[in-house]
């Protein structure tokens, strides 16, 4: 390819796309109103701001503009501004989203746009919340532990299809929007009992990792509260990386837990073998299945 004719058609296609991008971005600048949460700890409220908005701006741009023009101390957390770091999570018109990936052209600007912090986490100030519980929760999940290397040079072999399976989970950007909408955390505040969807995705990535050698089903059941999830799929809906959290991560983990810890035949086998699970990943099975079929709310 790249004969002159076809690269000419590329340029033409580019011109068309650029023109369309102009239109869809809305070239005219106008004034828009925002209601931004201001406050710290348990006090605060929405405050009104207006700023001029133009081509292709996202909510984070508007917040930065408000900050530069009229509220220099407006607290907001952000980094990459490209949807890759997961820092700027907020509730925009009540919907949990990344501020950097929410274009103003998607919102109804005839009404004020409300921008509020994630509600499931303690407020630090304005749009910034204390998400440290997520980092602590990760420590409770046992770390990646590879099987011995496959090759004498200390390396492993795996197929792309095996890699693909976990790469869906490993693309998580830790924006914690899934934690924010999970009713177990948001409404019932069971942070100590339930690690939440983000950490279950982390656990799924470990459990399905082609090289990992541990079995975490026992701890998922006993310590991480997987039974609390009653698969309402709110987490999946808000994931900016489109990870199919409930179907691909949580449900398969629940099935593994059930297989290992509630299957009466396996239980019998386990008792006869002296409390060892059979086949696959080996590890002393934990818990005695005393608590029935989970603890969903």
């Amino acid at each position: 390819m790249a004969s002159e004719t076809s690269s000419r058609s590329i340029a033409e296609s580019g011109e068309r796309a650029a023109a369309r991008s102009d239109t869809s971005a809305g070239t005219a600048s106008r004034t828009a109103s925002f209601q931004v949460w201001r406050g710290a700890g348990n006090t605060g409220g929405l405050q009104s701001y207006s700023t001029s908005v133009s081509e292709g701006m996202v909510v984070l741009d508007a917040i930065h503009q408000i900050q530069a023009e009229s509220a220099t101390d407006l607290a907001v957390r952000w980094n990459c501004k490209a949807g890759k770091c997961g820092s700027c999570s907020a509730e925009i018109n009540g919907v949990p989203r990344l501020m950097c990936m929410t274009r103003l052209s998607e919102l109804d600007l005839s009404e004020p746009v409300t921008v509020e912090p994630m509600r499931a986490f303690p407020l630090v100030r304005d749009l910034v919340t204390d998400v440290s519980s997520n980092f602590r929760a990760k420590k409770r999940i046992r770390k990646f532990t590879p099987r011995p290397p496959d090759a004498p040079d200390g390396t492993w072999r795996m197929q792309q299809s095996d890699a693909d399976r976990v790469q869906e989970f490993r693309k998580c950007i830790e924006c914690f929007l899934c934690q924010n909408v999970c009713h177990v955390l948001r409404d019932h505040h069971l942070h100590e009992q339930f690690v939440g969807p983000r950490l279950l995705v982390h656990a799924a990535q470990l459990e399905m990792h082609p090289l990992d050698s541990l079995d975490r089903t026992g701890e998922l059941k006993e310590n991480h509260g997987i039974g609390y999830c009653n698969i309402t799929k709110c987490c999946t809906k808000v994931c900016p990386e489109h990870i199919t959290i409930t179907d691909n991560a949580i449900i398969p983990l629940k099935e593994r837990v059930v297989d290992k810890h509630y299957d009466p035949l396996r239980k019998l086998v386990r008792l006869m073998r002296g409390n060892k699970t059979g086949g696959g990943k080996r590890e002393a099975a934990r818990g005695n299945d005393a608590r029935g079929g989970g603890n969903a709310l």
Binding site: I10, E15, S21, W78
Partner: protein, 604 residues
């Protein structure tokens, strides 16, 4: 008198992105007590923006690759101003560092026989970049972050260091503040590793986040350390140009590695028009050969889109300046054309470049599987930084180490894509190891309370000023615009001098910056403090740019457009003089070791 939360460590690592995490892990492995300072939340590092891959001569895809070729490629890309010892160590050790990541849980894309897959990238002779689609940086950061989670490392998230502490010539620690409460923290340390990244926020069009304000460069400079090569700023050829609010966001070189081509408004694939002499033998002279190269044909040479970044960026600028640019002031980058070559091309593109697909779809309303992107140069990386010993990464100040982007030497005048992720692994590890070793030989540091008080009192000044004074965001914005237009991708003596005068004015304005509100998570205050570092590094860049009267790598002088061989014999080094003035010197590059010289000759 200010109150402090105090901490004491053997090794304090400032910066928790790739290099900082790797350094902290290594120092912890060595048995040192480690504090890790993270300007943002852990894992939010800018390293996540590195998309293309990590360069290492694993030879999984092309068995002709080895460390010698990687070394020669790195030196050629850096136009031989590199610290050759670092280029040697980097090429030799990168494969082990990548394999180690796999042992820590990273899942790279695979070859058909189940090994780590490698892709082509600009300036690398063979497919060399281990990658995960186009989100390699995230994979690396998450792997290091998760691994570090289980190490005895004390992480201070959302903490910013404002100054290093010294006793005589020796570094004794640092003073910083936590963002959420604005409390000051005092760190006593036997050794300090700087891993703070770059200076991208000194320019208005940049791929860098708010954190990249040259903190480590300024901390080192103020502590008396030498900086080198600061005239070499890398403008990545392909940043987004439209819409305006996303201008500068990176478009990975991986697009070109997968076969993407650059086309001007007239429909001309202009990269074939000017191929530099030293790359002519390695570059395809027709489109068909270039395509075959991207598809793994070992007998084909690379397409001109994969020439080094400095060259591609300048070629794009030329098209734009001469009126052949795209509607929004860039050129077209097209990957959709590969549908004429591959079945299922659209699916292939989404699989190979998922983040790019997503980014353009969501932010620009462009479907890259069907339409070309508009791209143009964006400030991406600084080759220059703290002058270090190639083996240990120690700066000219005892006990102060630097690794990753804040360090200098590996990349010379221009960095090859993929060499930064490997850089931060190789030299992050070395810095951590030697910092721990150094700390083992030191007694406990004594913190000078008065020194700390002076620093924190100065940091609080913006709260005490007249509120009608300067706005920190405005001063920062004016600085960025000035640096972009006067010390940007094309430079001239008169403009650099204008910038130096402008910086004096900006420095005066920065002294009048005032902030409202209190110390709790107050971005206005943070900006006011970061501004000091931006002013310092901008001045350093301008002085270095003025001194190098030639064009080489990332430094292009319109008034001296040619390379001058006499400038290939030294690095430009900048230190703080005894009177506080900036001292610019030329330090000769040591003669290449004969065996390394031979490798370069063999790979010409």
């Amino acid at each position: 008198m200010p109150e402090y939360q105090t901490h004491e460590y053997d090794v304090l690592v400032i910066g928790a992105r790739g290099a900082g995490l790797r350094a902290a892990i290594e120092a912890a492995h060595s048995g040192a007590s480690v504090g890790l300072i993270c300007k943002s939340l852990l894992g939010k590092a800018h390293t996540v923006m590195a998309e293309g891959g990590v360069a290492a001569a694993l030879a999984n895809v092309d068995d002709r690759d080895n460390w010698r070729v990687h070394f020669a490629d790195t030196m050629r890309g850096g136009q031989y101003l590199n610290n050759w010892r670092m280029a040697e160590l980097h090429a030799k050790e990168a494969p082990d560092r990548v394999r180690e990541l796999e042992a820590w849980g990273a899942v790279f894309d695979r070859t058909a026989d189940g090994k780590i897959l490698q892709r082509n990238f600009g300036g690398h002779k063979y497919p060399r970049l281990a990658h995960v689609g186009d989100r390699t940086g995230l994979e690396m950061i998450r792997t290091l972050q998760d691994y570090a989670t289980y190490q005895p490392i004390d992480v201070h998230m959302e903490c910013t260091i404002v100054s290093l502490l010294k006793e005589g010539n020796r570094v004794t620690g640092a003073v910083g503040y936590d963002r959420d409460r604005g409390r000051f923290k005092l760190f006593a340390a036997k050794a300090v590793v700087l891993a703070t990244g770059g200076i991208g926020r000194a320019f208005s069009v940049t791929s860098n986040s708010w954190e990249y304000t040259g903190d480590g460069h300024a901390l080192a400079y103020n502590a008396g350390a030498a900086l080198q090569d600061m005239e070499f700023v890398q403008f990545h050829p392909t940043g987004m140009v439209w819409p305006p609010s996303v201008r500068g966001i990176l478009v990975t070189e991986g697009v070109r590695g997968e076969g993407g081509i650059l086309v001007n408004r007239e429909g001309r694939r202009f990269m074939f028009d000017d191929i530099p002499e030293n790359y002519r033998n390695q570059t395809a002279d027709n489109a068909e050969e270039g395509w075959r190269y991207t598809q793994g044909d070992k007998n084909a040479r690379r397409p001109p889109e994969l020439l080094t970044r400095d060259h591609v960026a300048r070629a794009i600028m030329k098209e734009v300046r001469e009126g052949r640019g795209s509607p929004h002031g860039g050129v077209f980058l097209d990957i959709s054309w590969i549908k004429s070559k591959l079945p299922n091309a659209e699916e292939h593109i989404r699989k190979k470049l998922p983040s790019m697909y997503h980014q353009f779809k969501q932010l620009a309303d462009i479907d890259i599987t069907k339409e070309p992107m508009e791209v143009g140069p964006t400030t991406h990386y600084v080759m220059g930084g703290v002058r270090v010993d190639g083996d240990t990464q120690m700066s000219t100040v005892p006990g102060l180490f630097a690794a990753g982007e804040v360090g200098a030497g590996l990349h010379g005048a221009n960095r090859l894509g993929g060499n930064s992720l490997s850089d931060l692994l190789v030299f992050g590890k070395r810095a951590g190891q030697y910092a721990a070793e150094f700390a083992g030989r030191q007694s406990s540091p004594r913190i000078d309370q008065q020194q700390a008080d002076a620093i924190t009192n100065a940091a609080l000044e913006p709260f005490n000023r007249d509120t009608a004074a300067e706005n920190p965001y405005q001063v920062e914005h004016d600085l960025q615009s000035m640096m972009q237009s006067l010390v940007g991708i094309v430079r001239r003596e008169a403009e650099i001098r204008e910038a130096l005068d402008g910086l004096k004015v900006l420095r005066d304005r920065a002294r009048k910056v005032s902030v409202t509100g209190n110390r709790e998570y107050n971005p206005g205050w943070h900006t006011a403090l970061d501004l000091q570092n931006l002013l310092t590094v901008s001045e350093i860049v301008a002085h270095a740019a003025l001194e190098r009267k030639e064009s080489r790598g990332g430094h292009f002088r319109d008034d001296y457009p040619e390379k001058d061989p006499s400038y290939g014999k030294f690095n430009i080094v900048i230190r703080k003089g005894p009177g506080g003035d900036m001292q610019v010197t030329r330090e000769p590059i040591p003669d290449l070791r004969p065996d390394l010289k031979q490798i370069i000759e063999e790979n010409k």
